[in-house]
Amino acid sequence: MADVEERVKGIVVERLGVEETEVTREARFKEDLGADSLDVVELVMELEDEFDLEISDEDAEKIVTVADVVDYIQAQQ
């Protein structure tokens, strides 16, 4: 499922305007990638569109790192 990880990273790079090398699995959106709360909301919406799924607010709150997103999407599929 490397595909999911690549797609997620691509979205993160585009949305947050960060370098691809910064987007590691361990990278935290807010602390490491400089995202504010609105960025996270936008990211969640974009992921919903990209992967055609709905991420509840409860689940969205648990998202801290890039790996959290990748694992979440893989679990949903």
Binding site: D36, L38, E42, M45
Partner: protein
């Protein structure tokens, strides 16, 4: 300055919404005219817009239904390749004195005049925040600031719109989306035409300019707020009322 931009005007088939749609077209803006019932009138407005050599089309949607709003925004955005300006103009009245006002009258006005603004802005903000630019202009009313006997539902909804304007302005400022409200006073439309001469005189006595406004007066304020000249103005309510409320 607005040439080539795109706009959606809700409730654009008549009155103030019509004037806004046509004025935007005059400035070179492609316009989507939302309407709820009167397709013919909406088409007339779109035709008037096309005279200024812009793209224009109509879209029927009940803005109090989120699914209909989402579909509308998707269509408008894909037709225009984005959305620069949203004018939340659609509104209804169900006037009655508070003690005689029915729950349905309250709900209908709240659903269209306040919830509709929430749905349309929410859907538009998604596109605008991706673009990192956009203008949302809400048509409020001076009675949302002053209150008005017989309009408990309408005044509450319009006051709500002003509050919502401020919150959206704060939430979206970092995305270069400016959100403002225009609060018309008494504007000569079908609604005010029906007033008795006595009621009209009573209203006029409250207006320092001593005449009713025109839909175009409101439209000019909207086009200013939609322009880049107003890029540093956000969260404000501009009264267009001949000095009635200060």
């Amino acid at each position: 300055m607005l040439k080539g931009q795109s706009a959606l005007v809700t409730g654009g088939s008549r009155g103030i919404g019509k004037a806004i749609a046509v004025e935007l077209a005059k400035q070179g803006v492609n316009v989507a005219v939302n309407y709820s019932g009167n397709r013919e009138k909406a088409e007339e407005v779109a035709n008037s817009c096309r005279k200024y050599d812009v793209e224009a089309f109509t879209w029927k949607a009940d803005i109090s239904k989120e699914e209909e709003v989402k579909t509308m925004l998707k269509e408008v955005t894909s037709a225009f390749g984005g959305l620069d300006i949203l004018v939340n103009n659609a509104g209804i009245t169900r006037d009655n004195l508070m003690m005689r006002m029915k729950e349905d009258d309250w709900d209908d006005v709240m659903n269209i005049n306040l919830k509709g603004v929430f749905f349309c802005s929410k859907a538009a903000a998604r596109t605008m925040s991706k673009q990192r630019s956009g203008k949302i202009i809400n048509i409020a009313s001076v009675v949302g600031l002053t209150g008005n006997p017989g309009q408990a539902n309408y005044t509450a909804a319009k006051a709500g719109v002003i509050g919502l304007t401020k919150t959206m302005a704060k939430e979206f400022a970092s995305r270069n989306i400016q959100v403002n409200a225009v609060a018309p006073g008494f504007i000569a439309t079908d609604m005010t035409e029906q007033m008795s001469e006595e009621a009209r005189d009573a209203v006029l006595s409250q207006i320092p300019a001593s005449h009713l406004g025109k839909p175009d007066d409101v439209a000019h304020a909207v086009t200013f707020l939609a322009s880049s000249s107003a890029g540093y103005i956000t969260g404000q309510t501009i009264n267009v009322d001949g000095g009635m409320v200060m």
